[in-house]
Each structure stands twice: as C-alpha cells, then as structure tokens.
C-alpha cells in the first residue's frame, strides 16, 4: 500500500532553510495532486509550534501531520530526503521528512503499518535512510510489503 501511495511523491534536495520550509517542500507533491490544501501545511507547522517536535518519530526522521480540519481532501503520503540536516525545535536534527495526510481515522493505517515495518527492522531502516533515488526507496518498501 505504501509504495503505490508514495509513487511520484518522492523528492531529494540538498538543503532547506528551516524546518518550516522542509515541511512545505515535502508537502509539495500532495498539494499539487490535490490531496491537501495550503491550510493543512499551516496546520502541520502550527502543530509543531504548539505541541513540540514530537513528530520527529525516531532520530533523523520526522513525520509531520495534523488533525484534519478541512485541509485534507484525500489521504496521501509524501517523502523528502535532505542531503544536509535541518534543525527542528529543541535541536532535533532531521534529514528525512515523511508528510502524512489522513483524510479520516482509518484510511491511512495501512500506510503506517508498512512504515512501521520499515522502521522496526534495523537492516531495512538503514537501507531506507541510505536510499538516494526513488527506485531504491521503492525497493526498500517492497521488501516489507
């Protein structure tokens, strides 16, 4: 499930100027495909400002998301990898940003389950972290699907 949702939503970039910027850039594919509106991007940024950088789910990987208050049209997920780390609040260094947009409370759980399978396995997550193009990412995901 994860691989088909991520298809075409994967970007690689050298650096961004701020964590807010990283969320904006990472969300871009979802915005273009109409999964989300600009409001959702702002909601995700506000969420970090309000609740802290808890969206940094494991060291180095952030999963920006927020409650759907009208900003999510259709469940989707996108991926951005940075060559250079960006700093989230409290000094958390991040180089992989996985934007999660959940339309309702259940349609995205399959995506998270696959993501969890990647993160839980040390070998797989290392391959995931070291991927340098869309094809490699897809191969990693297919290992766990």
């Amino acid at each position: 499930m994860l691989s088909e949702y991520l298809k075409g939503n994967i970007n690689f970039l050298n650096r961004v100027s701020s964590w807010e910027e990283s969320i904006r850039v990472a969300s871009d594919p979802l915005l273009k495909k109409g999964n989300i509106t600009p409001k959702y991007i702002q909601d995700m940024i506000d969420n970090v400002n309000k609740n802290g950088p808890y969206i940094v789910i494991v060291p180095g990987i952030a999963m920006p998301h927020a409650r759907n208050e009208g900003g999510v049209i259709k469940t989707g997920i996108s991926f951005l990898k940075l060559q250079n780390n960006v700093q989230f609040p409290e000094g958390k260094e991040v180089n992989i940003i996985i934007v999660l947009a959940a339309e309702d409370n259940s349609s995205h759980l399959g995506l998270l389950s696959d993501l969890s399978s990647i993160l839980i396995d040390e070998d797989v997550v290392n391959k995931f972290r070291n991927s340098s193009n869309e094809e490699e990412i897809m191969n990693v995901i297919k290992m766990v699907e």
Binding site: N47, Y54, P59, M63, H65, L100
Partner: protein, 472 residues
C-alpha cells in the same frame, strides 16, 4: 489566535517548572536525613531536652558534611545517574572543607554541575574506548575530573559563597542602623533558608540583644530571626495544601520545628517552592511588627528557637506580646503560603505525579527482581493506548509498531489502540505519549499510568514495557 497564545505559555512555564521540580527532587529524597539531624539536635545539644555532650558531637559533622553531601549526591544522580552522584559528591567535599559555614547552597550547585561534567565527558568518549578498557576509563575519568572539581570548588565556589555570606552580614548591620526592624526580614528569611540562620542569629542578633538586655532587661533582637511562627505557618499550609510527599512530611516537620526549635526542618520546603520565601518574609515582618507594637522582647537568645524556649525566656508582662507575635507571624505566612500553593496547584500535581510515576516504576522494577511471578501478575494490563494531538499519525504509528513487537514477543491478550489525548477511554491501563505531550495527557488523565517516549519505534521505555509484559 487562541492556539498561538496557548503555544507560548506552556513552554516558558514548563521551563520555570523544570527548575522548581529539579530543586524539589534534589531535596525531597533527603528529608529523612534532615529529620534525623533535627531530632538529634533538639534532644542533645546543651540547650536541648536531654543535653548529652557525646551525642551532641554528631550534630556539627552531620550538618556540615552529611546533609550537603546527600544533596550533592542526589543532584548529581539526577543529571547523570550513579556516575553523576559520585562526581557531585566529590565536588561537594571540596567546598565544604573550603569554607567554614554549612554549604547547602553550594552543594545544590556543585552536585548537578559534577553530574553534568561527567555526562558531557561520557558523551565525548562514547564509542571511542577500545574494548576491554571500559572499566579503567570509566573509573579514571571520574577520578581525574573529580580531582580537579574538588580543587576548583575548594578554592573557588566555597569562598564565593562565604563571601556572599559576609555581604549578608554587613547588609543586616546597616539595616539595623536604620531602625526599621521589620525590614530585617527581607534579609533574614532568604539567609535562613540558605542555612545561614546560626550565622546571623548568633553572629549578629544575639550580641545586639545581649547589649540591649543589659540596659532594658529584654530585647526584641532575640526574636527577629528566631520566631518559630513563620515556619509554623508555612508547614501548616504545606500540610493542608501541599503536594503529596511534601504534604505527608510537613506535619512531622512541624513538631520538630515548632516544639524542637529546629528551623532547618522547614528550609527544604521553601527551597522546593522558592516563591514561598515571600510568605516567610511577610510572616517575619508581621511578627517583628507585632513584637514592636507590644514592646515585647526576650531575656536571652532562644536557642533552639522553639515555642518552648520562647515562653521560657519571656519576661513577666510580655507574654501577650510574644505569643501574639508568634501567632500573627504564623497566620500571615500560612495565608501567603496557602495562596502560593493554591495558585501553583496545577503545576505541582503535574510535577509530582511524574515523579510518583518514576518511583512507582522503580518500585515495580524492584519487585520484579525480588518476586518475578507473583506481584506483577496481579496488576492487570489489558489495554494500552498510544495518544497524540491528532490521534491519527504518530500515535497510530506507535501503536501499530508496538502491536508488532508484542506479536514478535508472543505476548497476547493486550489491546493496543491509538487516540487523541483527550479521547483515551477510561478502561485504558497504560497511556503512552511523547514526552512533549505529558503535561496535556496528565491534565486529562490524572490517575493513569503514563509512559513517556521520545522515539515511537524503539524507545527504551517501550522496550522496558514489553519486558514487563513478557514477564507476567
């Protein structure tokens, strides 16, 4: 708009809270030692209930060494575990010997500082020690760093704090010269809780008092810093409105403070909630004012400053004034402390429950070692809820990962769900939240066991929980 405002207040408050919580946690575990010392002092010093020269010889080393070292050790442990405790204690002995007065404040600084140093060092060399050399590096790093810290605190921190003490003494002298005695409380009360009470009483007020007594037969100076009223009011307020452990220990402290005259017993309570110093100042001031209005005084220095020595040293005709001064001071400090505690109640509960959480977890760990099968099988855990702001993203990721881990560990019969923090149902046995969200989770779920994590996939606290569940 509302969200933005909400966003800014907690982080600032949380920081203040963190400092207060840190002081509390450094002092609270050691209150037993203060009580032991207080009992010893009240009973056996020359002016105590059963003067005993031999036993009284413990009093001085205990307040000079035992109590500060305990504080430093606890402070170091809080920053860097057992290694921090060792470092902090090593540092504290330097400043204790480097000065002539009890070094509580210094110990509360050097303890965490020592812990911080060794933590930084350990981080620096992490992963760089060749296999087989861990033990020698670990021991010698503390040994060498501790050696320098000892010398540093001997030559630097101890004397700095002692110099501060001298400043306090001369400030008091110049206040006395102004003639406005209630103002003395402004310095007395903070100086007292830093354990300078004997210095200011016996060093300044008693000599002044004795002079005046020679002329007038009594003196108000004996009362300005030894009035047991403000401390009584503070401890009463803690007994009624304090948080759990402080509330439980305060009544015992009242007996030793008010009847035993050992003011040191209330100092930790002020140190753990520094704002209450205002209550002590207000209480002290109103006490002095009352003594002054009644033109009351004592005939000698009440040492220890208990209600009993007060009454014993009150000259005829002064009882009304002396007793009123004590009562007024107690009432005023009680009211002010109560307001401060009430105002602070919410913060307190959060602070405290999290430390209760910790001690509970430690207890159950201890039990596990002693009694692996029985104790824990009694505590039913059938539902674990992961919670976050939206209840859909990180909490769902955490829950699905945790389910996989349970499966792998062959643990069944446990339901793992994810929710918005506020929506976690009552039948949940354990709530898991990110540490940034603890405050909010605690607000909606006062009595639940809450586990905090920083990593949704393999946080050490989650792995411990799996261990615990596996052993049932």
């Amino acid at each position: 708009m509302e969200n933005v405002i909400k966003a800014k207040t907690p982080s600032f408050r949380a920081r203040i809270q963190a400092v207060g919580g840190f002081l509390t946690n450094m002092v609270l575990p050691n209150i037993g030692a203060f009580i032991a010392w207080g009992l010893l002092t009240a009973l056996f010093i020359p002016s105590g209930w059963f003067p005993n020269e031999n036993l009284a010889s413990i009093v001085d080393p205990a307040i000079k060494y035992l109590l500060p070292l305990l504080l430093a050790s606890t402070g170091g442990r809080m920053v860097a575990g057992q290694r921090g405790a060792v470092m902090g204690t090593i540092g504290a002995i330097g400043l204790i010997v480097g000065s002539d007065i009890p070094m509580f404040l210094g110990a509360m600084i050097i303890g965490p500082l020592g812990g911080w140093l060794i933590k930084k060092f350990d981080k620096l060399i992490d992963g760089k020690i060749p296999a087989g050399f861990e033990m020698i590096v670990n021991n010698f790093s503390i040994g060498i760093l501790g050696f320098f810290l000892m010398i540093f605190s001997f030559y630097f921190i101890g004397p700095v704090i002692e110099a501060a003490n001298n400043v306090v003494s001369s400030a008091i002298k110049s206040l006395v010269d102004t003639g406005y005695l209630p103002l003395l409380s402004l310095i007395n009360e903070p100086a007292k809780v830093l354990f300078l009470n004997n210095v200011i009483d016996q060093g300044i007020y008693y000599p002044l008092g004795m002079q005046e007594t020679l002329e007038a037969g009594k003196s108000i100076y004996f009362t300005v810093a030894s009035n047991p009223g403000p401390g009584l009011g503070l401890l009463l307020a803690f007994s009624f409105f304090g948080k759990k452990a402080a509330k439980r220990t305060a009544p015992g402290a009242i007996i030793i403070h008010f009847f035993g005259g050992i003011h040191e017993l209330y100092f930790p309570y002020v140190l753990m909630k520094p704002l209450t110093i205002l209550a002590m100042i207000a209480g002290g001031m109103s006490g002095i004012t009352t003594f002054y209005l009644f033109d009351a005084g004592l005939v000698a220095g009440p040492s220890p400053g208990s209600i009993i020595s007060y009454l014993a040293l009150t000259p005829k005709g002064n009882f009304l004034g002396i007793i009123s001064g004590v009562i007024v001071a107690a009432v005023v400090s009680f009211i002010v402390t109560a307001i401060i505690l009430k105002f602070d109640k919410k913060t307190d509960e959060e602070d405290f429950t999290s430390s209760i959480e910790k001690s509970k977890a430690m207890k159950s760990e201890g039990k596990q070692i002693l009694n692996p099968s029985n104790e824990l099988s009694n505590t039913k855990i059938s539902k674990i809820s992961f919670a976050c702001d939206a209840g859909a993203g990180s909490s769902a990721l955490g829950a699905t990962t945790f389910r996989k881990r349970l499966q792998k560990a062959n643990i069944d019969g446990i339901e793992v769900k994810h929710y918005r923090i506020e929506d976690v149902p009552e039948d949940t046995d354990i709530i898991v939240v990110h540490k940034d969200l603890l405050e909010r989770a605690r607000l909606s779920h006062k009595n639940k066991r809450i586990i905090t994590i920083e990593n949704y996939i393999e946080d050490p606290n989650l792995l411990k929980l799996i261990d615990e569940l596996g052993k049932r």
